[in-house]
Symmetry: C2
Subunit: 363 residues, 2 copies
């Protein structure tokens, strides 16, 4: 199967191999070595010296962890949404009682840092900014460096959903002053879903100390205490740890900058190929994502029908759209274990499916 969704991503053979490793004691020396090494490697890709914790849960769990650990009920938060995952962050904050000021954009576009600055200037009660680095639902990457600069000029806490970016698209957590950065194992890391990551700056710890939202399972204070002895507070998703260790080994062997360059190259290859098929891109191409490409299906051709035919006839799995454009857009994931070859194979069969449709023409 050519699995070309933006996560779970395909696992390389050596990752599949280590998934066969037998269970070990999560409170013993072998696991302490494992979590210590994996944590260090993640910090290298997060480009941070901050604390970093590995949670057992999905990426959305890490988003909830950020809300639970750093906010209090009634606290005013600017939630910058450029798509479904930005909306989700706002929803979690609201569910926990935050006073959410939502800033949305035209779907397919990026957030304007200056607009964020104006919102912060106009509303000094805002303490915290939630922002998506890479929006999986639209295939847009925000200019996080510029956004961070604005947010930090107002001295707000900056919480970044980097779930589908970190490890694939460069993020300079410390240099850009990102207080909290989140990611998930099933994205660029070439591991199965089930672990999520969060880095915490000193300011994040200050907020942690003051925050009043209820927290237990996601409590970073407990995570910090246990990590000191190479443990997690609760039983960790052990097999995903094995996979993650191997995925990180491969990423380091390739070289951090080479990993980013490959993602950029393969993404460009994908965008060129989609356009060569006469399909219209969904995202503003100035902010096109290097991990996922979204495009409109041909006029009159539902993404659901296309996706079903791609799977049934060609063993190729792409993602349909999300939200309002579920049926009119499709998304190709190109993160983690991917080269131009898998993209060519996917584009080839997408072209065949379109050609077969009598109504198939560019939208």
């Amino acid at each position: 199967m050519n699995l070309r969704i933006p996560g779970p991503t395909p696992l390389p053979p050596s990752v599949l191999q280590v998934l066969q490793k037998q269970m070990i004691n999560h409170r013993g020396p072998e696991f302490a070595k494992l979590i210590t090494g994996v944590t260090e490697d993640l910090k290298y890709f997060f480009e941070t010296e901050n604390d970093l914790f590995i949670l057992t849960g999905s990426g959305t769990g890490a988003m909830e962890a950020a809300i639970a650990n750093f906010l209090s009920p009634g606290e005013r938060v600017l939630s910058v949404s450029i798509g479904n995952f930005g909306d989700r962050f706002a929803q979690i904050a609201s569910a926990f009682g935050a006073d959410v000021v939502k800033m949305s954009v035209t779907p397919g576009t990026a957030a304007d840092p200056d607009e964020i600055g104006r919102k912060l200037a106009a509303d000094p009660a805002i303490t915290t900014v939630l922002v998506t680095h890479n929006e999986t639902s639209t295939g847009v990457t925000n200019d996080l460096e510029s956004i961070a600069k604005v947010v930090k000029s107002y001295e707000k806490l900056l919480i970044v959903d980097g779930i589908s970016s970190v490890g694939s698209i460069e993020i300079k957590t410390d240099a850009w002053n990102c207080d909290v950065v989140l990611s998930g194992s099933q994205k660029g890391w070439m591991a199965p879903p089930g672990l999520a990551f969060a880095s915490l700056s000193p300011l994040a710890w200050e907020r942690f100390a003051a925050a009043k939202n209820p927290r237990f399972y996601w409590d970073f204070g407990k995570a910090k205490h246990y990590l000191e002895t190479g443990e997690t507070p609760w039983t960790p998703g052990m097999s995903v740890f094995y996979a993650l260790e191997e995925g990180l080994r491969m990423m380091k062997a390739e070289g951090r900058e080479n990993v980013y360059a490959r993602h950029a190259r393969v993404a460009q290859h994908c965008r060129d190929g989609v356009q060569a098929l006469g399909l219209k891109m969904y995202a503003d191409q100035n902010y096109a994502s290097n991990t996922v490409t979204a495009f409109y299906t041909p006029e009159g051709l539902s993404s659901k029908i296309m996706a079903k035919e791609l799977e049934d006839e060609y063993d190729t799995v792409v993602a349909i759209g999300q939200g309002a454009t579920t049926e009119t857009t499709m998304r190709i994931g190109h993160l983690g274990w991917v080269t131009e070859a898998e993209i060519d194979a996917a584009l080839d069969v997408i072209g065949r499916v379109i050609q077969k449709q009598p109504a198939g023409q560019a939208r």
Copy 2:
């Protein structure tokens, strides 16, 4: 390695085999089939027709899910604790603002159903009872049937931590009227950690509708909505699903009653063997657990030293105690993929370690 802790438990070869399966689309037909089948199989072992959901997280995550979904801040809750995991349930409820009435017992003993009845009679504001079916920290199994009878006679919501019991020790969720029952993949299910399970009675759904605690990641309403199309709200721990499916296949092939009988037999074998070594049992033997056996180390011999020697010299991993008896008790796990042979091997080397100690004599 002879891994004899009460979870993660060793994985059978066929489970390790399926862990090698490539990732699939978590929003596609293959996963829909997988989650539907696994959910049905879990219901069979939970002995329930209630809704049952699979969460991506540890067992503690399922405990937090129960608190988040069914309680409101200030709500009065009776938390029946017979050890560390019972304490944890009370702590989670407190973290979410519940008004917790805690009932504790002498460590190593079970909860007295009549005492629970007296607490409920004396304090009609209590809406909900939290109880541990099998306490992993002490090796005690509560008489859940009798406890449930009392709790339901007062018409309270009954939430059961069955993390280390369900699938290994019989629990009649529906016949006993247990409203919410929790378990975790790394216990009797012969799968890695990373998935947790919760069954919900109609009364639980009523409480869900009224509960005001913040919930998002653990929201059972969202889980129900997505399960209708064979999905989970957030990306599921896919590889653990593969393992769980195979573990359940093995359990069904053995037969539910045979699985319980094997656990009872192996547990008795373990208890007999520990006593034959001259060691004193920690748990009240009338309530001895069929999934974990706790015993005192010989006088003057720390469990940490014993555990280290067992691991370093004999490749055998047992658990040390928890809480006040961390250093003076040890615990042998016998749940999931286990027979008398692994217990004999563990007891043999425990006997050798004790004999080597100059001070080694029964406490």
